[in-house]
Amino acid sequence: MSEKIISEKKTSYGSLDDVANTALFMAVFIGVWQIVFMLGIWPKISLPSPYMVAESFVKIIWNHSLPVSIGVTLARLVAAFVISIALGTLIGLVMIKFKGFGKMLSSFSAGLLSFPSIAWVPFSILLIGFNDFGILFVVIMSSIFSIMISTYSSIRNIPPIYLDAAKNMGAKGFYLFRHVTIPAATPSLIIGIRQAWSFAWHAIIGAEILMSIVGLGHILSVGRDFLDMGQVIASMITIFAIGLLVDRLLLFKLDERVRRKWGLDQHR
């Protein structure tokens, strides 16, 4: 038969080219920054040079405030995110099971999806207090609705033919759920998780700025309190780098793997 296999496309992400492009972009960015600094439009205290920011980096690494902050922030984030995924998935499944409840909650959640995470802070301080649990609460409330909605819609949007075919072969109950529903919903679930991750990341920095005495958000706000722009920018760069690394190294890779298996990214 004159049929041939479509060759597997190699992934381009993470290749040497990309690293070179990123390095080039950073070099240009730092160069422009240096030039603006030397033009002296802003006083040094408002806009330090790249070198001064590097010094701030060394300082906050040396006095341990940066490593400790990263550790604390990530620990909070992981705890909140795990709870968010577990609870959000569970509620999403209940929404599937009870249709009326699902319909009601999905329009309700759609409103909360765009609710600014920072707007949970006063509520959380008064309800729970000025502590770690208050921060967790803000992060959970900011990310759980994307998990709920994504679980609900991913499962509802599974092409019925997969379920028909599986039932036809005798699959039912938990087996059907485990071996058809979950894998069939996975590409769309991953998108929901990526979105929830980015919401959670926004939320934790905001919450830490306003209600913490330790963490990345906290050293950012300490920088402001002491008029230390170097520390502010160093903290911002750290926040940027962590956000990027987690998305690219973890979530993007996961997404890409699933998409490749399904043949969804042949046009990239």
Partner: protein
């Protein structure tokens, strides 16, 4: 021996609050080893009938008997080959073929052996570890057939399985399917809107009326096998069936224009 009996199957659908009659009392006896083709205008309800036999849809009245026993739920004794898109993209070809066997609790080694046998029969051994998107449409349908045969069903249900194929691939599969039928002695119900397909494949061809579907006429095609698409002698059957179907297709078009 009667393998499957459809007794007075009636099926309504709710369409915008109106009840639409899809199947209006279908009676059909399928003998063991029969290759039955159901032809009818598209949208006439022939796929609905197949879904009822598969247990994926419940009839409003009437019953389906398999080996004399009534059935109402899907089961691995009646396996369906769908038109397209029913393979699981998250599984490799061989795992797709094994899916139903795994469900049936057949141990891993035996599963592998069975699925390899059917992949070999469909000339797909080389592609056992491929994912579905890597296959052409024709190969996908061969995987679907291998998956169905691996279940060793009492009846194979085929819902326009070749409709999406190019004509060369279809002609090849029409021959392959006849060979498989002769080799495995399976009972097959094959739904199509394509008259030549029905004449080539069926030892009985059942013509459905336009919606609501009813059996209009049945033809017995007693002709040597394997039958080829280009065989002139099949023309007379083709024309007899076309004569019956013409008025139904016209009725269908009239329905759609209303």
């Amino acid at each position: 021996m009667t393998k499957l009996q459809a007794k007075n199957i009636v099926k309504h659908f709710d369409h915008n609050g109106n009840s639409v009659l899809a199947l209006d009392g279908i009676n059909l006896n399928v003998e063991e080893g029969d290759f039955i083709c159901i032809v009818g205008p598209s949208g006439c309800g022939k796929s609905t009938f197949l879904n009822v036999v598969a247990g994926l849809e419940k009839p409003n009245s009437g019953e389906i008997l398999l080996n004399g026993k009534p059935i109402s739920t899907p089961g691995p004794d009646r396996i369906m080959v769908f038109q397209e898109g029913a393979l699981f993209p998250w599984l490799k070809v061989i795992d797709n073929v094994e899916f139903g066997l795994k469900m049936a609790g057949i141990p891993k080694g035996e599963r592998r052996q069975i699925s390899e046998r059917y992949l070999d029969m469909m000339q797909l051994t080389k592609f056992a570890d491929s994912y579905i998107y890597q296959l052409s449409t024709g190969m996908k349908q061969r995987v679907a057939i291998a998956r169905a045969l691996a279940m060793d069903p009492e009846i194979l249900l085929m819902d326009e399985p070749f409709a999406a194929l190019d004509s060369q691939t279809r002609d090849l599969l029409l021959v392959e399917l006849q060979l498989i039928w002769e080799r495995t002695k399976k009972t097959i119900i094959f739904v199509t809107h394509n008259i030549s397909e029905s004449v080539i494949l069926g030892n009985r061809v059942v013509v459905f009326k336009n919606r609501p579907a009813k059996i209009k006429k049945e033809f017995v095609i007693d002709y040597r096998r394997p039958r080829l698409a280009e065989d002139e002698n099949l023309q007379k059957y083709y024309h007899q069936i076309l004569e019956e179907l013409k008025s139904e297709v016209m009725a269908r078009i009239k329905d759609e224009n209303q």
